[in-house]
């Protein structure tokens, strides 16, 4: 039995969270955008798999930023195309 590595524990990996439906709705309204206009992240991204994100979920990424201290980004989980 091997212990699975939790990528989120790595110092270089920013915090990832799955957003609730209400939060997503608020987000879309705040920027007046549709789902399609969100930045994307693949479903098999190591961090997304770790937090159990499904295709169609929106992930909140909280990064340490050089310029702003803490910066948030939001990304829509999509299926990775083959090739």
């Amino acid at each position: 039995m091997s212990i699975k590595l939790n990528v989120l524990d790595h110092v270089m990996v920013p915090d990832h969270q799955v957003m609730s439906a209400d939060e997503v709705q608020a987000l879309l309204e705040r920027y007046s955008i549709t789902f399609e206009q969100l930045p994307k992240i693949y479903h098999d991204d190591a961090a997304v798999k770790q937090i159990g994100g499904k295709v169609g979920d929106v992930i909140r990424v909280i990064r340490q930023s050089q310029t702003a201290g803490i910066a948030e980004a939001y990304r829509l989980v999509i299926r990775r195309p083959k090739k």
């Binding site: 920027y31 206009q37 930045p39 310029t67 910066a71 980004a73 083959k82």
Partner: protein, 881 residues
């Protein structure tokens, strides 16, 4: 204007033979173009139904004249099918994944399920690839054993047969291939990512060839009256000729061998017609030996349809000529030759308010002999859009007709705003808006202080000038693109326009230490400017002559309430700063717009640094800053002219003592190197961690020699003080460094290839002048002479080696960074910061939620920080913080 329409979708597909025949207006069978009377052959390549290019004739299809007829396609019926080169990879893939007998996909339904499990899209989701199919197997549908399909460039396919253990290749004709592709069922094609409704795979094997309209392959008539056909027409002639011969032979029942040869020839001609640069296929050539420019070549590459004709177009209202400097112009101005100013125009609408003025323009006409003449006009546009050329005897009549509603195309005059550009346009400051100053001569003139953003010099550089034609464009140019709006670079938030070369030398010579000028000298320095009062003289001599200090003179061009403290370029970072008492006068202190101490140099007014400039921009705005640049450039040029400034070979002279010291220093270094080599050869050298003894020795030698070189520089520098022009330029930051001086007067030092001493050459030695395995300094490229003394032959050779590496490096770097830049720009060019602070694409897709994550404009901040706290505190306290 019609309302803009949104494109719903675009379908990409292949042209089917049926479609080709439907869109064709004429079947082409004759390889000839024109008969002896110069009339096109019917059913020839220049058939009148394909469109007309000769003026006067009418198109047989649409009955329009040459200007209006868009041209129409024809077609050629090919004797046998041939492969389209552009689709060979697709054909190869299809032949490999389908059965050679039944045409079905070589996967059982279960396997298909497994590979394309995720098929929830309308087009079958995941696309099958060659890798999904195992090699060497039987068809799961009909049981037929599959053969390996080989593909040989450019268009040959063959099957590999295994007979009694021996391999033999069997060629597939295009007809065989077409038959196999026809058998692939539509449902299997969808799994492969092909929509059979718009692209049946057999359409990649041509049975009928479209003949493009004459309008896209016009023939030109040479001066001697001979017709010269387009490359495409030449190629089509070849195709038709072979096709006809092929048909005749086929009908006559010629032997198989001849048929095959002709088939291959037809394939060759169709291939080169589509793409004349296919690998493994000799390009078709013109009689002169020049390769033909066929369909693919028209689209591809830098001069192709996309990059050459669609992305890059030529424009009117532009001018290009050589540039030359003129420090008397403002940085916001550009000098334009009269000959260009009379040729280029600005349209002005005639209104009741300017009617009289416009009449005068028209009456003056296009003639303008001297700079002093007021500008005239070249054209008048009537309300019915008719354009009348002014000139000769029509001036008065047209001036008479002029009334509101007309437009007058007036010549350029002083103060007109134009866009000025130098390629390569790598950043936005490569195009800036200047105000025109009409001048004599034939070159564009600009203030040398605007050279850095354009990266221009005057060794023959040419620049382009564009005249905006609408009020909106002129307003944008004045508000957004004007030079003074671009003093700060968005790259690092500091000024990119500022003093260069002589400006810095001059201002350094003016402000260094204390000097006292008489009134006439002060007035000479400042006479260009808008200064109306001289300050109280700083000192009155015993004989009563009032004198002003050099620092007072410089302070005249500073804003009166400027406060700042900083260290000049000439500061050497002493352990303990003596501030105002600095012996190099490098501690700059400005209180209430008065330079109290310190020397103004590159740090203060130079492009890319410009501390004073930066502070003026923040405190007083762009317009004050551009005035300051104008003042500094003019003042410094006058200052440098007071003493004069030059450099000659005798400026590198050293006295006998220095030569002795340098020789001694180099001899000592040589001994040191030999001593270390001896230690190494005796095996006594202690290697550094992670290095071999050889590497350690090399590093030590490089270090010793480097230090020796620097010390010769110090010796030379001690002798040559600030009185030396090269030293002055290096210290003030105007040009060059102490290293350059070291190499001129002291010792050139070690030449290197890839950061190491020169090791290449003969077996175990660099040149036959040295013993094998000699590790000494001179045997591996150490040059102990200076440029002034001259180099020995071996030194010269080593210097050439090192110099060559530098040249190759720059050549490689520019091409690589150019391509990198192109890709970056292509990816980023349409992004913009929206009003809510997000960075978005044109479709509104978000790239960044907050520009730079903190939403700050680098031009508004202070070298990366949003607020310049230090600067604000300094301005208030008037002290260093």
């Amino acid at each position: 204007m019609p309302s803009p329409k949104r494109i719903g979708k675009i379908t990409f597909g292949l042209l089917s033979p049926k479609e080709i025949r439907t869109m064709s207006v004429r079947k082409i069978i004759w390889a000839d173009t024109y008969d002896d009377d110069g009339f096109p052959y019917p059913q020839g390549l220049m058939d009148l139904a394909l469109g007309v290019i000769d003026p006067g004739l009418r198109c047989k299809t649409c009955d329009q004249k040459a200007a209006d007829c868009p041209g129409h396609f024809g077609h050629i019926e090919l004797a046998k099918p041939v492969i389209h080169v552009g689709y060979t990879r697709l054909i190869r893939k299809l032949l490999r994944v389908t059965c050679r007998s039944c045409g079905r996909l070589l996967l059982s339904p279960d396997e298909i399920q497994k590979v394309s499990l995720t098929a929830d899209d309308e087009l079958g989701g995941e696309v099958l690839t060659e890798k999904d199919i195992k090699k060497e197997r039987a068809c799961p549908h009909c049981g037929e054993l599959q053969l390996k399909v080989n593909f040989e460039k450019p268009t040959t396919f063959s099957e590999v047969l295994l007979e009694e253990g021996r391999k033999s290749e069997h060629k597939l004709t295009p007809a065989d291939i077409r038959a196999r592709l026809e058998r692939i069922p539509p449902s299997d094609l969808r799994l492969l990512g092909i929509n059979p409704d718009v692209a049946r795979p057999e359409w990649t094997v041509l049975t009928v060839l479209p003949v493009p309209p004459v309008t896209m392959r016009p023939s030109i008539i040479l001066e001697n009256g001979q017709r010269s056909e387009d490359d495409l027409t030449h190629k089509l002639v070849d195709i038709i000729r072979i096709n006809q011969r092929f048909k005749e032979n086929q009908d006559a029942g010629a032997p198989q061998l001849i048929i095959e040869d002709l088939w291959e020839l037809l394939q060759y001609h169709v291939t080169t017609y589509l793409d004349n640069e296919v690998a493994g296929c000799p390009p078709a050539r013109h009689r002169s030996g020049r390769p033909l420019k066929t369909l693919s070549q028209r689209l591809k590459g830098k001069d192709g349809r996309f990059r050459g004709s669609l992305s890059g177009k030529r424009v009117n209202f532009s001018a290009r000529t050589v540039i030359s400097p003129n420090p008397n112009l403002s940085v916001t101005e550009v000098g334009v030759p009269l000959s260009i100013a009379v040729e280029m125009t600005v349209p002005v609408r005639v209104t009741t308010h300017n009617l009289e003025e416009m009449r005068e323009f028209v009456l003056r006409g296009p003639e303008r002999r001297t700079l002093r003449d007021p500008c005239g006009a070249n054209y008048v546009i009537r309300p019915d859009k008719r354009r009348l050329r002014l000139g000769g005897d029509n001036l008065e009549t047209i001036a008479e007709q002029l009334e509101p509603g007309y437009t007058v195309e007036r010549q350029l005059r002083d103060g007109d705003i134009v866009l000025f550009n130098r390629q390569p346009s790598l950043h936005r400051m490569s195009i800036m808006a200047h105000r025109i100053k009409v001048m004599d001569g034939k070159t564009f003139r600009l203030n040398p202080a605007v050279c850095p953003p354009y990266n221009a010099d005057f060794d023959g550089d040419e620049m382009n000038l564009h005249v905006p034609q609408t009020e909106e464009a002129r307003a944008e140019a004045a508000i957004l693109i004007a030079v003074q709006e671009n003093i700060l670079s968005p790259r690092f938030g500091g000024p990119i326009i500022g003093g260069i070369h002589d400006h810095i030398s001059g201002i350094f010579m003016l402000t260094h230490d204390l000097r006292w000028f008489t009134k006439s000298e002060v007035l000479y320095l400042l006479k260009y400017g808008e200064i109306d009062h001289l300050p109280e003289p700083g000192r009155i001599d015993e004989d009563g002559t009032p004198r002003w200090s050099n620092k007072q003179v410089f302070s005249m061009i500073l804003p009166s309430d400027l406060n700042m403290v900083f260290r000049a370029s000439s500061c050497v970072n002493c352990d303990e700063c003596r501030h105002v008492d600095c012996e190099r006068d490098a501690y700059v202190r400005i209180v209430d717009g008065q330079l109290v101490s310190g020397t103004v140099d590159k740090k203060a007014i130079g492009a890319f640094d410009g501390a004073i400039l930066n502070r003026i921009i923040r405190r007083f705005g762009m317009d004050r800053a551009s005035r300051f640049i104008d003042d500094v450039t003019k003042l410094s040029i006058r200052a440098i002219m007071i003493d004069g400034f030059s450099f000659g070979i005798d400026d590198e002279d050293l006295s006998r003592t220095e030569h002795g010291q340098i020789e001694e220093e180099l001899a000592r270094a040589k001994d040191d190197v030999e001593r270390r080599i001896r230690i190494f050869e005796e095996g006594q050298l202690e290697p550094m961690p992670g290095r071999t003894p050889e590497e350690t020795l090399e590093m030590q030698i490089m270090q010793v020699l480097g230090k020796a070189r620097d010390r010769t520089g110090e010796i030379a520098g001690r002798h040559l003080g600030l009185g030396n022009s090269a030293v002055l330029m290096a210290v003030s930051g105007a040009r060059g460094s102490m290293l350059n001086l070291t190499q001129m007067a002291g010792c050139i030092g070690q030449q290197s290839v890839r950061g190491e001493r020169i090791m290449r050459g003969y077996e175990e030695r660099t040149l036959p002048h040295y013993r094998r395995r000699d590790r000494g300094a001179d045997a591996h490229g150490f040059i102990l002479h200076s440029y002034k003394e001259g180099l020995s032959p071996t030194e010269f050779f080593f210097h050439a080696i090192g110099g060559r590496e530098g040249l190759v490096d720059t050549a490689v770097r520019t091409s690589q960074s150019g391509y990198l830049q192109r890709r970056l720009i292509n990816a980023l060019q349409d992004l913009k910061v929206a009003y809510d602070g997000t960075v978005r694409t044109t479709m509104g897709r978000i790239i960044q939620y907050h520009y730079g994550e903190d939403g700050t404009d680098p031009m508004k901040g202070s070298f990366g920080d949003p607020v310049d706290v230090k600067g604000i505190v300094e301005s208030v306290l008037k002290e260093e913080v």
